[in-house]
């Protein structure tokens, strides 16, 4: 029983991480038809931004509000980088999909190489605030608190995104743009502003995932974002490519399957089973769990 609880909550924590990365990917793909391979780099930037701020930024630190400030800094840097990349590199290649893929793949390699050049390839110990280091007893299982931090953050982000899409003027434009971009343009709306915004939001979530992932794993390394990105892409595909609720459901599914398979079969089987899950879902429901943004 305790193992089951621990595995479930850890799986959900992993799912939260996947969701934070995949939600941005899914919004970007849904609205702009851009497969953003540089998304993993946003995660790395968020993680290193937070780590750097915790050690160097005045007022920031490794615990309490100082750490919150460090995370805010990391997220802000990730958001800024994402917005700049959209404005300077993606926008000029609007609707040239092959070039966009080349640019984002190139960026993912270049940004990671840059981080490696500055801070080295070795993992760096990531600051973990006191509370996150403790455990909470649930049904006899001692669950590390950082899992709850991940899950709560992801739920807050999910609710915030859904409310944003549902209740704001830009949210309406984004939902309409995901359905039919040409028509939105024909109405006289400049969707490119929404593109930049969506890219920045995606960058912010990925950077937050970087900071939270650092707490979860206890260390950060330059290649972390790229390896997480693969699973995030699988989550986006299973979730139906452009649906936020579908992405959330798919993230939970992938996180749990991966955890349980890793524990009950053998370490590494989890990754394989996720790919199998992708195949099964695509065979049964070719358009994913949810085909529309909701």
């Amino acid at each position: 029983m305790t193992t089951l609880v621990l595995l479930t909550i850890t799986g959900l924590g992993l799912a939260a991480l996947y969701f934070l990365v995949a939600s941005g990917l899914s919004l970007i793909f849904g609205l702009m038809d851009v497969l953003n391979f540089a998304h993993g780099a946003f995660l790395t930037i968020g993680a290193y931004g937070t780590w750097w701020a915790a050690g160097n930024l005045p007022g920031a630190g490794e615990s309490g509000w100082g750490f919150v400030l460090a995370v805010v800094f990391g997220v802000a840097v990730g958001t800024l980088v994402a917005a700049l990349i959209e404005l300077l590199l993606i926008r000029p290649l609007y609707q040239r999909h092959i070039e966009q893929v080349l640019v984002t793949v190139g960026l993912s390699l270049a940004l990671v190489a840059l981080v490696r050049a500055v801070w080295g390839a070795d993992p760096r110990p990531f600051p973990r605030p006191g509370w996150a280091r403790g455990t909470t007893s649930i049904l006899g299982a001692n669950v590390p608190n950082d899992r709850f931090l991940l899950i709560v953050s992801a739920v807050v982000v999910l609710v915030a995104v859904l409310a944003f899409l549902r209740f704001t003027r830009v949210g309406l434009i984004i939902r309409a743009g995901v359905e039919n971009r040409t028509m939105v343009t024909a109405l006289g709306i400049d969707v490119r502003k929404a593109f930049t915004l969506v890219f920045a939001i995606g960058g912010a979530f990925a950077a937050l995932a970087g900071a939270l992932g650092g707490i979860y794993l206890g260390s950060i390394s330059p290649g972390q974002g790229t390896s997480l990105l693969i699973f995030a892409f699988i989550v986006v595909v299973i979730g139906g490519m452009s649906s936020i609720t579908g992405t959330a459901a798919a993230a939970v599914l992938v996180g749990l399957v991966q955890q349980f398979a890793n524990y009950y079969a053998a370490s590494g089987v989890g990754d394989l089973s996720v790919v199998l899950l992708l195949a099964v879902v695509l065979l049964a429901r070719p358009s994913g769990l949810r085909a529309r943004l909701a």
């Binding site: 944003f164 209740f167 704001t168 003027r169 830009v170 949210g171 309406l172 434009i173 939902r175 309409a176 359905e179 039919n180 040409t182 028509m183 939105v184 343009t185 024909a186 109405l187 006289g188 709306i189 400049d190 969707v191 502003k193 929404a194 915004l197 529309r292 943004l293 909701a294």
Partner: protein
């Protein structure tokens, strides 16, 4: 023909001159000339029907006017401003609105959200991400008015995808009305609409033209629909403008009859 000018965007402010001028408009794609040297003027408040056999270039002409196709020659002037190179969204903001041949509403949004989006586009306002949709704001009022105009007042909360085909066409009109265009391009608004709905839709289009003084260009195959609405009929054939005259004179034109030989008018 009505010229009752209500509150007007830029495109209606020309005093007396043509609201839309098309001069030598040409579009060639890979050697094939799909719209060939088309020239005509449209007076404010005029209703022009565009007819022609399939593949005559009617929709291509509309795509050139609304900016979805690039012109390879000639100019399009809206209210005295050359818009030949303008983007589709810039043209829409200047008062050139259009519907599409295939029914095009946002199926996943509610009926009201569909129209609201258009109203937002016209009223402008911010792209600030925290700007909320408020039930009583200006865009919402425009949306409510436009829905009432086309007879969909009670359907605001339904998903647009759940509407019947005829109602979707009405919703498209409401979307267009909410952008308050000076010039309206309707691409086969009756396509796929059931016989019972044609009369109602014709009435709505007619009243938009008469009562709000909109300039309308409409591609349509139903001649009976056109004859009651159109001031002039433009006949396209092989990408050229074959004739542009009153409905009576166009239907008796030998060249038009020649072009339509073997096809139902």
């Amino acid at each position: 023909m009505s010229t009752s000018a209500s509150a007007a965007p830029a495109a209606r402010s020309t005093a007396g001159g043509p609201v839309l001028q098309v001069a030598g408009l040409t579009c060639a794609i890979g050697g094939a000339v799909i719209v060939d040297d088309v020239t005509f003027d449209v007076a404010p408040g005029e209703f022009i029907a565009v007819i022609g056999p399939n593949g005559a270039g009617k929709t291509s002409l509309f795509n050139l006017l609304s900016g979805l196709l690039p012109a390879t020659g000639g100019t399009v002037t809206l209210a005295g401003t050359d818009i030949t190179g303008a983007s589709p969204s810039a043209r829409a903001r200047r008062g050139l609105g259009r519907t599409f041949q295939a029914s095009s509403v946002f199926a996943g949004l509610s009926v009201r959200e569909n129209v609201r989006l258009a109203a937002q586009a016209r009223l402008g306002g911010s792209m600030r991400p925290w700007q909320r949709v408020r039930p009583g704001d200006a865009a919402q009022e425009v949306a409510t008015g436009a829905l009432a105009r086309v007879g969909l007042a009670g359907r605001g909360d339904d998903l647009a995808g759940a509407l019947s085909h005829g109602d979707k066409r009405k919703l498209e009109l409401a979307i267009l009305l909410a952008t308050d265009p000076a010039v309206v391009l309707l691409d086969e608004p009756m396509a796929g609409v059931s016989i019972e709905d044609v009369a109602g839709l014709t009435e709505v289009i007619g009243s938009v033209h008469r009562e709000e003084g909109k300039t309308v260009l409409m591609v349509e195959h139903h001649m009976d629909v056109l004859l009651g609405l159109a001031d002039r009929v433009a006949v396209m054939h092989h990408g050229k403008l074959l004739a542009l005259d009153t409905p009576a004179r166009v239907t008796s034109d030998p060249a038009v009859q020649q072009a339509y030989l073997g096809e139902s008018l």
